[in-house]
């Protein structure tokens, strides 16, 4: 009776406490808002874009070429080498990049969680093999491994109906699933290993719970925090990875009428020496902004789900 007095603050549910901690993380809060605005821009792209993805701007005055226009009222962020509006293309590019990032992260999480929990629960040979393979794979320079695996998959003709052409979006997503699941699997494995000896798992087992139930009702809900953080990391990894591939000329096909952040940034490389700064600054800023926001959201989630963490003393 006396004990409940003055403890109203502590009687929040864990979820409420997590939410409170998340909102305390200023970077995460601001990033969530910025991210939400960007997603809204993409969702309402028919309203927010001013021109089509491959539509050239024709200026009122005849005789003037429309390519490489600096920012002005007809094109807020200027135009590119063949006179397309960079502002509109950035929204279309962001859409493709977000699709790649989010779907790669979701599929990678599904694969990673499955493999990781089996490895953690079963242990033994399978576990050893998994750790060895991921050790080596993760230690490779990202770009080298990415390019080698990309060409390897692309050359296997019998896989083409499943994975698609190597310049398709599906192929790119699959590539990042292949690279993304390993980190998540290691993480889930670690947290399963740490949790499986705990009393509440033993209690569940004593009550006759199946492995399936133990994983889905007890182990995974208790490691949801690290999984969410890893998920956000995979989103950033895939978005930046796609940009890296495009930058070096191995990205999705530019001719298909779509664009991506990576393709926009790679186009900027040719504009640097000529001094068309708007082609460089705007796409690069957007890519940085996306990466930063998702990373901050991940950081906020880490704080929110791990109360033991000493953050800022």
């Amino acid at each position: 009776m006396i004990a409940t007095e003055g403890l109203t603050l502590d009687s929040l549910s864990p979820r409420q406490m997590a939410r409170r901690r998340y909102f305390k993380h200023k970077g995460a809060l601001v990033s969530s808002v910025v991210m939400a605005i960007m997603v809204l821009f993409v969702l309402f792209s028919p309203l927010t874009t001013r021109y089509g993805v491959n539509e050239a701007i024709f200026k009122a005055e005849p005789g003037h070429p429309n390519s490489y226009l600096s920012p002005r009222s007809e094109a807020w962020f200027g135009t590119d080498d063949i006179g397309r509006d960079i502002y509109s293309r950035m929204i279309f590019g962001l859409k493709v990049s977000l699709i790649i990032g989010i779907s790669a992260a979701i599929f990678a999480t599904i694969v990673g969680v499955t493999v990781g929990s089996i490895a953690g629960l079963r242990g033994g040979r399978f576990d050893d093999l998994l750790m060895r393979v991921t050790d080596i794979f993760l230690a490779f320079p990202f770009l080298v491994a990415l390019l080698v695996v990309r060409n390897f998959l692309g050359e296997l003709d019998f896989l083409t109906p499943i994975v698609g052409e190597r310049t398709s979006i599906r192929f790119i997503i699959l590539l990042f699933v292949i690279f993304g699941w390993m980190g998540i699997a290691r993480l889930v494995r670690g947290s399963v290993l740490a949790l499986k000896e705990r009393e509440f798992i033993e209690a569940a087992r004593a009550l006759g719970a199946s492995n399936f139930r133990i994983v889905f009702r007890h182990l995974l809900p208790n490691s949801i925090g690290p999984i969410l953080v890893a998920l956000t990391n995979t989103v950033v990894g895939a978005i930046i990875g796609e940009a890296t591939l495009s930058f070096f000329g191995f990205g999705p096909d530019a001719g298909s009428g779509d664009t991506s952040l990576g393709l926009l940034v790679s186009a900027s490389r040719r504009a640097v020496t000529a001094g068309f700064w708007w082609m460089v600054v705007f796409p690069c800023t957007l890519l940085i902004l996306v990466a930063l926001c998702v990373n901050f959201i991940g950081d906020g989630l880490r704080d929110a789900t791990d109360p033991k963490l000493v953050h800022g003393g």
Partner: protein, 330 residues
């Protein structure tokens, strides 16, 4: 200790063989060497193609041809690359070009690592000493932002700022943005070389600083909160000694380990940065060879990468065991 190192070294050999075999198969399938050869040499007749295929053991099963490649490669280690197959474009020797590329990369990588590690560790310590304060927040946020920016984006922005916009505003370029020397330059010139390296080194170093500052800060914070720090202070050891001998030394253990494993990320950053700055290093070597599907050039490069990665993993294990007396070696 010696036995432990020796055993790990012996274990590294089968790992190395296995990984190079997998890489060999992946590259054989991925680049399709015969086709790449014909693409680079459109006028090659059937006999030439056959010769190329035979020299590179491209016929027969993978295990046999891997063995043939490995023999040639190992022989090449002792005769200065004479026994390695020549590149498909222009039949150039691989080793001299790779040697130059390695030297250039090593120079860039070492300079960036040195700056990155010292500044990063310093910033990490600096931040951890006043947790929650202004400088902690500044270092932490700064590192977080720097960490989020992909290296080629910062490289492009740096090029734009220091080369193009600077000359537009002030009438002269501040820093060169490509190569080791200006085109047509002959001989050795230290100052010119340093000037060409400033931008690429800074780009790579920023990434390293960001990673190290965060590791160091987190690690030191954990140590500072541990019981033996209180014990050390209670014994009356001066604050300076407590900090240097107890806190920083102990917090280095996880940092060193993570750092050694991180070599792949540093190499990756190097490759990307080199390409943007047209710096003739290993990254440029790899990407050019990869574009051409140049099998004889790709394999030695991959061996260098695989060896570096495995050796640094080993180094991580050994240094961890060496730095932390609580770890038993056998």
């Amino acid at each position: 200790m010696a036995r432990f190192v020796l055993r790990r070294l012996l274990w590294a050999i089968p790992t190395l063989l296995l990984v190079t075999f997998l890489v060999y198969v992946a590259i054989r399938i991925g680049t399709n060497p015969s086709e790449a050869y014909q693409r680079s040499n459109p006028r090659a007749n059937a006999a030439k193609i056959k010769e190329y295929e035979e020299l590179n053991n491209l016929r027969g099963n993978y295990i046999n041809s891997y063995w043939g490649w490995l023999r040639g490669f190992l022989q090449g280690l002792f005769d200065g690359g004479e026994s390695w197959q020549r590149s498909i474009k222009g039949r150039r020797e691989v080793w001299p070009e790779m040697k130059d590329a390695m030297a250039n990369s090593l120079r860039l990588g070492l300079a960036a690592s040195f700056i990155g590690v010292t500044v990063g560790l310093g910033l990490g310590i600096f931040a951890a000493l006043r947790p929650g304060g202004l400088r902690d927040t500044a270092v932490n946020t700064g590192a977080f932002v720097a960490f989020s920016i992909p290296p080629y984006v910062s490289a492009i922005l740096a090029q734009l700022l220091f080369a193009v916009m600077w000359s537009r505003w002030f009438g002269h370029t501040l820093l060169p943005t490509s190569g080791v020397y200006p085109a047509g330059h002959q001989g050795f010139d230290l100052w010119l070389m340093v000037k060409h390296m400033i931008l690429p080194v800074s780009i790579v170093a920023i990434q390293i600083i960001a990673v190290y500052a965060r590791y160091m800060r987190a690690s030191l914070l954990e140590v500072l909160n541990s019981d033996y720090m209180r014990t050390a202070r209670a014994k009356g050891i001066s604050e300076r000694r407590v900090l240097m001998n107890h806190a920083v030394r102990n917090s280095m253990i996880p940092v060193v380990t993570v750092a050694a494993i991180d070599i792949g990320a540093i190499l990756g950053g190097l490759i990307i940065t080199e390409r943007v700055f047209s710096y003739p290093g290993m990254g440029d070597f790899f990407l050019t060879a990869f574009d051409n599907g140049d099998f004889p050039q790709l394999m030695p490069f991959m061996v260098v990468i695989v060896t570096t990665v495995i050796m640094f993993n080993l180094l991580a294990d050994v240094s961890y065991a060496w730095l932390d007396p609580r770890i038993r070696l056998d």
